[in-house]
Amino acid sequence: MTKLSVNRKQYEVDDDLDTPLLWVIRDSIGLTGTKYGCGVAQCGSCTIHVDGHAKRSCVTPMKAAVGKEITTIEGVSPDSTHALQKAWIAADVPQCGYCQSGQIMSAAILLKENKRPTDADIDSAMSGIICRCGTYPRIREAIKQAAINGGGK
């Protein structure tokens, strides 16, 4: 059994240490907000935080997160009140919604490290997350709005 801390809750799982965190989180722990899109770190739908750093969970072996704090979309705020979540709702960003967990998790790191991101900063931080519905223009606006609303707190 391996101990993991996800969203400040402790879990014990019996997956192999090399199992990608994505499947540990989805299948063993049961948090399905983190999505599978490509399995090869190309699309970013699976983005989570490990000790405050963005990680593509589909290529991150579980062993890399042992003893560290894992945060998924479900843990980014207790009640959907993260500035990004509020901005996402205000701008009606999602369409199908499948990639949005990855988008928000990526944007959260951006805002944590850059309180007033420029368009170029947003491009640099967000171009790893594919949205097939094309919500990019709204993601850009929502990030800027969240920054104004103190999202990088």
Partner: protein
């Protein structure tokens, strides 16, 4: 939607899922609505007023709109409830939604099936939903009139209550449910005057956004059923190949692998979870009987298209006047070949489905665009009556025409085989290889202008495989005979809006053996490219401004002209573009909507790399329900169109689809996304679609702008920078 309602809905959904479709709703005030019997909906012991398939009202006044269409990003979970809320006169905060089951009541009259596609949800359901909501409102009013013994005419409704101005009595809808349920539903309820619309035509926030920003939204991939196993299937690398022999000893040794099952489609590894199933599959050894496609490659298919275009007999799609007579008048004739490749849908959520087959019934969970078809397919597979098959539709992680539902069958077969619920998950590579691709289209075009630059003939031959031949039998129960037109191949070309006195459009059907299907905007996804670029060529030959040339040929098509003018005005078409930036324009009608786009691009002379700076889009989609959704769909359509224009290409080598994942089937990303502006033509015309019509004009607008920038005409997609380098 308040968090509380959201919670209620979720727990309701959960209850539904966990109890095999039995609705567990508070039963403190059971009754059966006559309307339920009338609409053939199974009576449920519920406190709710369920006057028809679409609407449920709870004692607390909450209104649930049952949406039988699939939500794949286009916003039906909001736009359809808006229509109901407006006619029902309820507060938006009291409105929520529920995914509807398969059912005759949910057949979209615009399509003749319970299918989400063809940009038809509003087009087909606006009237039925209004009528259903108006009838419900009249039943509530009648109930109040009976309780108060006043004439119906004296009563008014507002914000979820009936009131009697004279006596100042009010009754919330929630208090009238039992009485209303005894009222015979009116057959011709009075509809609101459009000027009184409260929601229709206004920007309303989507009801499904909250669950899509906190991870709680449930997609097919997220379904969990007690006792469920997860499967991955190893399918033939060659299209149509079959298993010859296989060795599963190593696969069975993988921890968590429970069963190895041979299916028609391949070898399934059924395991405790996805990763075990995937590892088990990686350990499989299969020898394939590759079949006849093993000798097929893209270059050969292209050569076959060239030959077919030159020699085959075409099927007529449209004829006006006489081409020979037109050619005789031509002062100048041009000929071009346009090519559009096969394309994958590449929805962000790979295909998946969960099934639980019991002896006498079956339940499936998946994101599906054609629930009734799936219900029938599953029933046939299990030799059960369709009513024994429960289909739970989830959120769709993208549809674009891909999610018709055939992938459910493997889950059904596996669940039946292993006696447990089974979720089948496709890998991204499975998804890329197992698609129904947008057909390739080889276009042989010729046209002439007279001395004054006026077109005198237009001839267009399209060589492409037939979507209906692939999907017709499963979806609609028939395939078009080989000598009949499949107009999904020629739509957008056969109805060319430009004034052409002599026009001939025909189609040569090919059968490359590559499965083809509906891909966002279907035929228009390639006919807009060929027609709008070739028309641009004609304008150039006529030495006319591309916009003026178009407008001169659209006198009989004011809505085309209207969007062109609007897009051109907003883009500043007649003002000089910023230095180094060049503009192109295109217009196209599809799904009863008219869309024009102006693209602003620059081209790096050294690398040939194209940067799209801005796209200005104008749409006339008739009466609008939610303008912000229209704008969102245009943004979506344009980015989808740009992805296809710059990256989209599926190729075949020795019968194998060559592309595997996003590294070789690329998607537009944030750093490549231009500024997009959408303008909506105010209109009271009948509704047009919005989910697809924004895609067709994008590639031609960009390609026409590239011509303006470089003098080079891109006639083959995707756009290749190497072709645009300025030769030193």
């Amino acid at each position: 939607m308040t968090p509380k309602t959201e919670l209620d809905r979720r727990s309701f959904l959960k209850a539904t899922l966990l109890t095999g479709g039995a609705l567990l709703i508070g039963t403190n005030l059971p009754f059966t609505s006559r309307a339920e019997e009338r609409f053939g909906i199974e009576a449920e012991p519920a406190a709710e007023f369920h006057p028809n398939a679409f609407i449920k009202i709870a004692p607390d006044g909450k209104v649930t709109v049952v949406v039988g269409q699939a939500e794949m990003g286009q916003g039906v979970l909001t736009s359809l409830p808006m229509i109901v809320a407006d006619e029902l006169e309820v507060d938006w905060k009291d409105v929520t939604f529920e995914h509807g089951p398969p059912g005759a009541a949910f057949i979209n009259p615009a399509l003749g099936g319970q299918i989400t596609g063809g940009s038809a949800s509003i087009r087909g359901l606006f009237d039925p939903l209004r009528k259903a909501a108006a009838a419900t409102r009249e039943m509530l009013v009648t109930a109040a009139a009976q309780q108060w013994s006043v004439p119906v005419e004296q009563l008014r409704v507002r914000n979820g209550e009936v009131f009697h101005p004279t006596s100042r009595r009010t009754a919330k809808y929630g208090t009238l449910l039992a009485a209303a349920s005894k009222v015979t539903p009116p057959t011709a309820p009075k509809l609101k005057d459009a000027k009184d619309f409260k929601f229709i035509g206004k920007n309303v926030k989507r009801l499904d956004t909250p669950e899509k920003v906190n991870g709680s939204g449930i997609f097919g991939m997220d379904i969990k059923v007690p006792g469920m196993l997860t499967a991955t299937i190893m399918r033939s690398p060659v299209i149509g190949g079959k298993v010859k022999t296989f060795d599963d000893s190593a696969a069975k040794a993988v921890k968590g692998v429970r069963h190895v099952v041979q299916l028609e489609s391949g070898i399934a590894i059924v395991a405790d979870n996805y990763w075990s199933a995937k590892k088990g599959r990686d350990a499989l050894n299969v020898v394939w009987d590759e079949g006849k496609m093993a000798s097929v490659s893209s270059d050969k298919l292209y050569q076959a298209d060239v030959a077919a275009a030159a020699t085959a007999k075409g099927i007529e799609a449209k004829k006006i006047g006489d081409i020979a007579a037109g050619k005789a008048k031509a002062a100048k004739t041009i000929e071009s070949v346009y090519w559009a490749p096969f394309l994958a849908h590449a929805t962000m959520e790979p295909m998946n489905a969960t099934a639980d087959v019991k002896a006498d019934r079956c339940e499936v969970w998946s994101g599906i665009q054609a629930q009734m078809v799936v219900q029938q397919m599953v029933a046939k597979e299990l030799s059960m009556p369709p009513e024994k098959v429960t289909v739970n539709n989830t959120l769709l992680g993208g549809g674009f025409g891909r999610r018709l539902g055939e992938y459910v069958i493997d889950a059904v077969k596996l669940s039946k085989s292993v006696g447990k619920p089974v979720k089948v998950v496709w890998t991204r590579e499975d998804d890329m290889h197992g698609d129904f691709y947008r057909p390739s289209a080889y276009n042989k075009m010729s046209a002439g202008i007279d001395a004054a630059g006026k077109p005198v003939f237009w001839q267009h031959r399209i060589v492409s495989p037939s979507i209906m031949a692939t999907l017709g039998p499963g979806l609609f129960g028939f395939a078009p005979p080989p000598d009949r037109l499949d107009d999904t191949s020629t739509e957008g070309a056969s109805n060319l809006p430009y004034d052409m006195q002599n026009l001939y459009v025909d189609w040569v059907r090919t059968d490359p053996g590559v499965p083809v299907g509906f891909w966002r905007s279907v035929g228009s996804s390639h006919t807009a490219f060929s027609t709008e670029c070739f028309l641009d060529e004609l304008a150039f030959e006529a030495k006319k401004d591309p916009l003026a040339f178009r407008l001169s040929l659209l006198e009989k098509h004011p809505r085309h002209a209207g969007v062109l003018k609007l897009a051109a005005e907003k883009a500043g078409w007649y003002k000089p573009a910023p230095k180094g930036i060049f503009r192109g324009i295109a217009v196209h009608e599809s799904f009863a909507s008219y869309v024009a786009q102006v693209a602003e691009v620059s081209v790096d002379k050294k690398t040939g790399k194209v940067k799209v700076h801005r796209i200005v889009c104008a749409i006339d989609c008739g009466q609008v329900v939610n303008p912000d959704t229209v704008a969102a769909q245009m943004e979506s359509c344009i980015i989808f169109g740009l992805t296809a224009a710059f990256y989209g290409e599926i190729t075949v080598k020795n019968g194998r689809i060559e592309q595997r994942n996003f590294y070789d089937y690329k998607m537009l990303r944030m750093n490549e996304t231009p500024k997009i502006e959408t303008y909506i033509v105010p209109s009271t015309e009948k509704h047009g679609g919005v989910g697809e019509p924004g895609t067709p004009p994008t590639a031609p607008a960009v390609v026409n702008a590239i011509f303006a920038a470089t003098g080079k005409r891109v006639r083959s997609l995707p756009i290749k920078p190497a072709d645009l380098r300025e030769v030193a």
